[in-house]
Symmetry: C2
Subunit: 663 residues, 2 copies
């Protein structure tokens, strides 16, 4: 049966060139080639087998990932992979490991917060893996509120050292990846104390373990924080707890790019602007948005392929039943998620450009765009991770009962993905930051013209008056109509909130009381940005037979799906009439029919290997049923016909001898 392709007919229906779409998805021909090569390298290497993960106990699981990580590092060296290639290699291995922390948190923190001297010393050690580091910020008692961290770093003038200490149980560092068993170093965030005065939270390079025998250094207690959601997921990693009992580090291990402590114990701000950190933040959030699009693309790829294979009901005269992909309810749940994957992908591409722009501005001390950039990236983070987490679970449900099997790949994908809603800025806290920006922007409208993604708010007075001119369902295909609708709704919500804030005794009280409405206004603002980014992407040249057309359909699906979902906002603000909202919904239905023939080809464009998907339901060849069976047979419970425990605990019941048996 190898070599069959149960989805061949579906593939032949595609109205666009899949190979060119793959490049559009990857971002560039070069990016496509790197991804493709790394994905195949991983898929073809037996060390990276993933199937057995759910069957392993915690220790074996952890050890297994250590092995994969070592093997990956060997490949990086043997094949002389670039940092970019190595990043993709890690991505396709698809298991959280301490090297994620090393490359995505430890090294960037050193590079962003260290002085030139510090970077010269520590970065090469990290990049050659002579030390392994983690990012130890969160404590048992504090995550979102970084300024509330309790770990202390007290300057000891005598010895020219800092004393790192955990004064309370809740000050224990809690969550950092790799901290429990692997990492030799950590950047520990602690409140700086000099002569009994507090100077805020700073990062300190602390060695945790002996480089000789890996044992924890004196005064440092390390441990694992226990199992997390899912089987593999973050259980392959040792997220850890650390307590410090007056641990001493040299003064030059405080990260001193932005502020310094001198030998004399003087606290000084350097002339490097604090804002420098923003560029790193944009880059981290770009990665998060990109990861969201990848995770969602995986889920929709599985659900779409399986929905084309799965048939249920609708057989006529004994013919085959209907593919569930043909049901409008299935389409209305699935296709907006396919469209979202593309929307987030293009949003992340655009964030890369934004990153370059921010960096260039920072170099010439232009901080004018920072508040807008801060709000926009915080909003993107929240919007894309929330939609992706929800979308993955929806895809699981779209697969019916079989989606509940681990072999469908979806439960693990969900369990792996959901913490993205919480880490790197809890999603609701993020939306409230966007809200602060919106309130400020709207309040300042008289004095200050908003820029970048908030520029449309400069037209707020117009947008709160103008009404939608759509008259037919076709009018809803016009990007100008779509964009104006999203802008008008968001502007009206922001302005509305600001007006109501004015009714409160103090702005702070009003903000607290209305925070839930403010979060909704923030979401509306973020949707303007994602929709407009998608639209702008399509104004560029996009080569390939039918590629641009297929993407235009998705862009409209994305926008009109959101419009329908949030129709309450659009109607409440009065920009749309019920009739216009209903026309949008009619158009949306028509668009689903346009997506349908392209559905399989669209998810093929992600170029996911079967290894990466690790889903029987999402197999490229659609050979679902025999492979489900095969996967099931590998369960340890199938080792014997009569399972362990049957004689002891079931037979006595059946034979009515329970009373006399020992349990």
């Amino acid at each position: 049966m190898e070599g069959v392709d149960y989805l061949r007919d579906e593939r032949s229906k595609a109205q666009f060139d899949v190979e060119t779409m793959k490049v559009a998805w990857a971002g560039s021909p070069e990016a496509f080639l790197v991804c493709d090569r790394m994905a195949k390298l991983v898929a073809n290497d037996p060390v990276f087998e993933k199937f057995s993960k759910p069957m392993l106990g915690r220790k074996e699981l952890f050890k297994n990932t250590l092995r994969k990580t070592a093997h990956a590092w060997k490949l990086v060296n043997d094949l002389h992979l670039t940092e970019e290639e190595a990043k993709w290699l890690r991505h396709y291995i698809d298991e959280p490991s301490y090297t994620d922390l090393q490359w995505e948190m430890f090294v960037p923190a050193l590079e962003g917060q260290g002085t030139e001297e510090q970077k010269k010393k520590w970065v090469p050690l990290a990049k050659t893996m002579q030390i392994i580091g983690t990012y130890a910020q969160t404590e048992l008692g504090h995550g979102s509120n970084v300024q509330g961290l309790e770990t202390t770093a007290t300057f000891d003038r005598q010895s020219d050292e800092f004393v790192i200490h955990s004064p309370t149980l809740t000050s224990s560092k809690w969550w950092p990846g790799g901290l429990a068993k692997v990492t030799t170093h950590a950047i520990v965030y602690a409140r700086l104390i000099i002569d009994g005065h507090f100077y805020g939270v700073h990062g300190f390079i602390v060695q945790l373990r002996s480089l000789e025998d890996h044992s924890p250094l004196p005064g440092i207690t390390l441990g694992d924080i226990g199992m997390k959601f899912g089987h593999g997921t973050y259980n392959t990693m040792d997220n850890g707890v650390a307590r410090f009992d007056r641990v001493r580090i040299p003064r030059d291990q405080m990260l001193m790019r932005v502020s310094q402590v001198t030998k004399e114990g003087k606290y000084m701000k350097s002339n490097v602007p604090r804002q420098l950190g923003y560029a790193t933040m944009v880059s981290v959030r770009q990665t998060i948005v990109s990861d969201a699009s990848k995770a969602l693309s995986r889920a929709v790829c599985i659900a779409t392929r399986y929905s084309a294979i799965r048939r249920q009901f609708g057989s006529r005269d004994g013919g085959p039943e209907t593919q569930v992909l043909d049901y409008k309810t299935q389409q209305s749940r699935l296709f907006p998620l396919v469209a979202s994957a593309f929307a987030f992908r293009f949003a992340s591409d655009w964030l890369k450009l934004l990153y370059t722009d921010v960096k260039q501005r920072l170099e010439v001390n232009d901080f004018s765009t920072l508040p807008e950039v801060h709000a926009c990236t915080a909003g993107f983070k929240s919007l894309t991770t929330a939609a992706t987490a929800e979308g993955i679970e929806e895809c699981r449900k779209l697969c019916g009962g079989h989606g509940y099997l681990i072999s469908s790949g979806l439960p693990e994908l969900f369990a792996f993905y959901v913490p993205a809603c919480t880490y790197e800025g809890e999603n609701v806290v993020m939306l409230l930051q966007v809200a602060r920006f919106l309130v400020k922007t709207v309040s300042d409208l008289g004095n200050k013209q908003p820029v970048g993604t908030a520029a449309y708010l400069g037209r707020a007075s117009l947008l709160v008056q103008k009404n939608c001119v759509v008259q037919t369902a076709e009018d809803w295909l016009n990007p100008i109509a779509i964009l104006e609708a999203f802008e008008a709704r968001a502007a009206r919500m922001a302005v509305g909130c600001c007006q109501r804030l004015a009714e409160f005794k103090s702005p702070e009280e009003g903000f607290a009381e209305l925070s839930s409405d403010l979060a909704e206004a923030s979401l509306a603002h973020c949707q303007v940005i994602v929709v407009s980014t998608f639209i702008r992407r399509l104004q560029q040249d996009i080569p390939g037979r039918g590629v641009k057309q297929a993407l235009e359909v998705l862009c409209n699906v994305y926008a009109l799906f959101l419009l329908h979902k949030h129709q309450g906002d659009f109607l409440a603000t009065g920009y749309l009439t019920p009739k216009q909202a209903s026309l949008a919904n009619d158009q949306l239905r028509t668009l689903y029919s346009k997506v349908r023939p392209n559905a399989i080809a669209l998810v093929d464009s992600f170029n996911h290997t079967d290894h990466y998907l690790s889903s029987v339901l999402g197999r490229y060849d659609g050979n679902v049923y025999p492979k489900l069976y095969e996967a099931a047979l590998k369960d340890p419970l199938n080792d014997s016909d009569i399972a362990d425990g049957i004689h002891q605990y079931v037979q006595p019941i059946l034979k009515q001898k329970l009373h006399s048996s020992k349990l």
Copy 2:
């Protein structure tokens, strides 16, 4: 530290009598006592310890549950527990096991579909556990579409037997609980064939395993279908696959209450009405709605208690930070879920009454209410399970990073609960059944007065004209105003769909094309029922200081939360003005402040033991942080300072000797 109560202050704020609320939640003083006794029996018995579940491999997990199940059955016998008590015992043990299938599927199917003779033979065997049975309907290729099942039962006149056979791979039975390793019998659903003619799908009692040595009988292949979502969850159970190779069973093992096959091979309908099955269906769905309320009550109990303990931001002058429960965003995500738990609870109480009513009617051959009952219970199933699944995950997110730990209890609760959206009628398929009913009801309005939960549609012509009269936020506290708003919106959506259906060539084509909108109309209909059930419950006498008042607040929260969430519908149908919708939202905010002082007492009213919750974050005493630490230390990775794999896979990297080491 034992004996502390970090939530004592919170508890003292309650404005109602918790002990009476417990009774209101349980349904009656007797029900409360049974639950309380069974919950404590389980909590105090070390055999039922659950903590180690996530650490066990599949085989140990399975065996462990067999042991618990045997112990439970021993208790049932030793303590002479009633069937009701035994049901609660199983409930509090909180692990899927083959006895669930025995008591909730196998026995009811025998009782509902067997003849008197069959019941006399089989039911006592099952009730004494001399045989253990499962319900084998779903196949690899068919779940929702039961009429599409492929397993065949061919009558052999010669031997007076049926031949049970699996003709294709996709005809393999797939999913039945206990099927792989435990059950000795199954009710196998198969298409009946007599002389080459098909007579639809029927149930057959098939023995699977030898009662002597438990080995599978000749011609029967049994196996486990592999791991499922979560650690414990359904992995404690052996959901199985079965294939039949021309397995013979005596003719009298076809369940023949409704139709029979005679010795001569004649297929006959008995004079027992087919509709008899409906009573069982109502009872099954009552259980599902009740389970939804329980699962949601667990999740909100955890999230509410932890939100009162968790403090983040907002410290003034070095004082304590703000309890996250005080943030309006936290309240607006959490309190509607608390209200939903109560709403679903009262809905399930009402379904019990409906069950009695249906049974009484069936006894006198009154089938007039069945279509309405069918739609109402299908809709309840879909609405409550979908909201509960989503609500559990929201509660997990409300707990920030710590909610991602298994020790929070929330990941396992989610993974355990979500299949309820799929089994016993996939949720979207259910909504489409409701939609068929609505379309029929509205089309027949001229001729037939709708009854029961659909009675309000009889006033459709009025409801599509009348507009909301609310003028102040207080007006939204009036149950009449609320109910009319929900009725008007639902009626308008149903009527609107019907009008649009008329524009299509055929009703079937229209139904398919508009199915997504029809599903939305169905949801609106179901919400009418849940809201009105809640309101009617409060029109009864409810004793206890402040109990009724506290429930009234929750009822309003539930309704106005839905109104805000679906504001698009309310506005699109024109029943509400934007101003009125906004007043509802203002009132909702006020109501959150009224819930706040009662929050902890409300979740205490569920009377959940710490054992049942199995959540460090949801502990009754609020002693979260030390216990999180304790729980973490039990992870096997903490057995040694230097974990297995470090020497082999990490040290060579650090010492730059990877090239020469063997991986």
